[in-house]
Amino acid sequence: MATALEKPPVVLSDAPAPAGPRKGWREYWHLYAAISPFYLIFLGFGLFPVGFSLYLSFHRWDGLGSMEWAGLSQYQYLLSDSDFWNSIGNTLIIWALATFPMIFLSMVTAVMLNSAVRLKGLYRVAYFLPNVTSVVAIAIVFGSIFSTNFGLVNAVLEGVGLDQVAWLNTPWGIKITIAALMTWQWTGYNAIIFLAGLQTIPSDLYEAARMDGAGPIQTFFRITLPLLRPTLLFVLVVSTVTGLQSFSEPQVLLQTSSNDSTFAGGPGHSGQTMVLYFFQQTFDNNDFGYGAAVAWGIFLVVVLFSIINWRLVQRRGED
């Protein structure tokens, strides 16, 4: 079917085919015109920015004055910048605190949804709901749930006789709050993706397993999990790329408790993620050259970490 059409589209046009080397361009101009908006936008806001940010990272520039050649010094400074390393650590901890519970919960949810006959549609809508909300609004809501003085979490802790926690003022409290928000927002989304993966597993495999006397747990580890690996890979990589670039959650949650900058990530910078640090360096300190170097640093961390995750899941598949 496709092959029937994969030929020049204007073959039957009444104009005689013009001769010469320019024929191709004239014949296809409308196709190029149709795809040109994307490529024009890409040139201006994709290719140029990437090239320019590379160029910038070798310079010193405050955005106004003249640029000064800096060689590799921005990158040298980046490697020894304890604030940057701190932000990498924060980002990875928050990512781990959010991702592992999220993957576990979403997989369990998906398996349960797959077994539920009734209300499946309703559950799916309910579980997807957290993902369509504005992060800013929901971060404000979470800020109040985890508030030290009047938050619900502390009220519950006190109700059961435990000590209150200054969630948004202590290093671990901050990280747990951000991770809780991310887990809440992405568990249902990933559960629906896992559910779709589950539905592609042929039911006769389960029949066979049952006939062989396999219990539900054995079935899960021997059939469900291995066949779900591609979906798991997808979920893990997406979570890595989004999680390592978190910005809005810590920014909104911690902007009022940070005293030096709205991008500082709370007391002691303990909620400052890599992207927050990038914004602080660039737009609070007006250090565009160093900001560009930080952006490349983030890119490298994200790529490295994605590859590591990819490899881990892949290798487990080869066993």
């Binding site: 059409l5 204007v10 209300l119 800013v136 979470f142 800020g143 009022t256 992207v275």
Partner: protein, 339 residues
């Protein structure tokens, strides 16, 4: 993570993109045939398996005591999950209907109060709520319109036509998936400051007007959804490219456009990082930025106002989601599994 879901979406797709383009980019010949027809066949069958659910493994004969207990064991955690998903919305309602002194008092309120109208009035005094909502709407609607137009045009070309340079151009598109957002923030800011767009909504609309994810996604959709016979027939009738696009392609892919449209709208409505930087005039911002300003200035004093703002900002999205929930969830799942 405002612009990040968008990015995640892009890069998430990119994982599959590599694989899918290898499979479904036939040069010619039998392989192309097979993959194209398989794709066509796969669509309706996926749809039907989606709607007609398989009976559960453990549903035996009649309703026994055991199966009922299993039903409870299954539904109880699912219901708890539903409550957790919905709770923050409920909490926003509670907080926005109480005065600040009530919010700050102990124990925390669990039922709605009576101060909603007062909070609403204070909110409208504190920020230009409707102005910023109008900005958000303007940006989200224009971007959605442009994305649907540009992405579907490009997707139609990549899905159904052959022309010199098609392979490299499509490969480039795939590479663009991977470009991380922060890398373009500074140059984009500098560029827009130069041409005077900083501070205006144009700065938000133009860079978002077409995207690689949408083109890739629509192309996959169009490849299987638009019958080639229909295009051949329209060509014999003398329809030119634009007519084919408008009268043949678009009507067929309307469900795909709905998905892409809803997704784009929600992404734009929620975008935060770039608007926060690009909208330098604090009196002319989008709703998300206004909300963040409100949280910054009133977050420690008047919580009722802040929560009322958050609640109102959630409502338009909930409406869009209510309209398109089925579409969004179904298509999202389909896309993820196909990779």
């Amino acid at each position: 993570m405002a612009s990040i879901p968008d990015l995640a979406w892009k890069s998430g797709r990119s994982g599959r993109a590599g694989k899918a383009s290898r499979v479904s980019e036939p040069r010619s010949g039998a392989a192309g045939w097979r993959s194209a027809t398989a794709a066509v066949r796969a669509w309706p069958s996926r749809n039907s398996s989606e709607s007609s659910e398989k009976p559960p493994r453990w549903r035996g004969g009649g309703v026994t005591e055991g199966s009922r207990r299993r039903g409870i064991a299954l539904h109880l955690p699912l219901i708890i999950g539903t409550v957790i998903s919905a709770f923050p919305f409920y909490w926003a309602v509670i907080m926005s209907t109480h005065s600040s002194s009530e919010i700050f008092s102990y124990p925390p309120k669990l039922l709605p109060g009576t101060h909603f109208l007062e909070n609403l009035r204070n909110l409208f005094d504190a920020i230009d709520f409707f102005g910023s909502m109008w900005n958000s709407l303007l940006v989200a609607v224009s971007v959605t319109f442009l994305v649907l137009l540009f992405d579907s045009l490009a997707a139609f070309v990549f899905a159904k036509f052959r022309f010199p340079g098609k392979g490299p151009l499509f490969g480039l598109l795939m590479v663009i998936f991977m470009v991380p957002a922060q890398l373009s923030v500074i140059p984009q800011f500098v560029l827009m400051a130069k041409i005077g767009w900083i501070g205006s909504m144009t700065a938000l609309v133009v860079p978002a007007a077409a995207n690689a994810f949408g083109i890739f996604w629509m192309r996959q959709y169009m490849k299987s959804a638009i019958p080639d016979e229909l295009l051949d027939a329209s060509r014999l009738d003398g329809a030119n490219f634009l007519r084919q696009y408008w009268h043949v392609a678009l009507p067929v892919v309307r469900p795909g456009l709905a998905f892409l449209g809803i997704f784009t709208f929600m992404g734009q409505w929620n975008d935060f990082a770039w608007p926060l930087i690009a909208l330098t005039n604090p009196d002319n911002v989008t709703l998300q930025v206004a909300l963040s300003q409100l949280n910054g200035t009133h977050g420690t004093t008047d919580y009722g106002i802040v929560m009322t703002g958050a609640l109102l900002a959630l409502i338009p999205l909930l409406i869009v989601f209510a309209i398109g929930a089925k579409q969004i969830i179904g298509d999202l799942a389909k896309g993820a599994v196909r990779g």
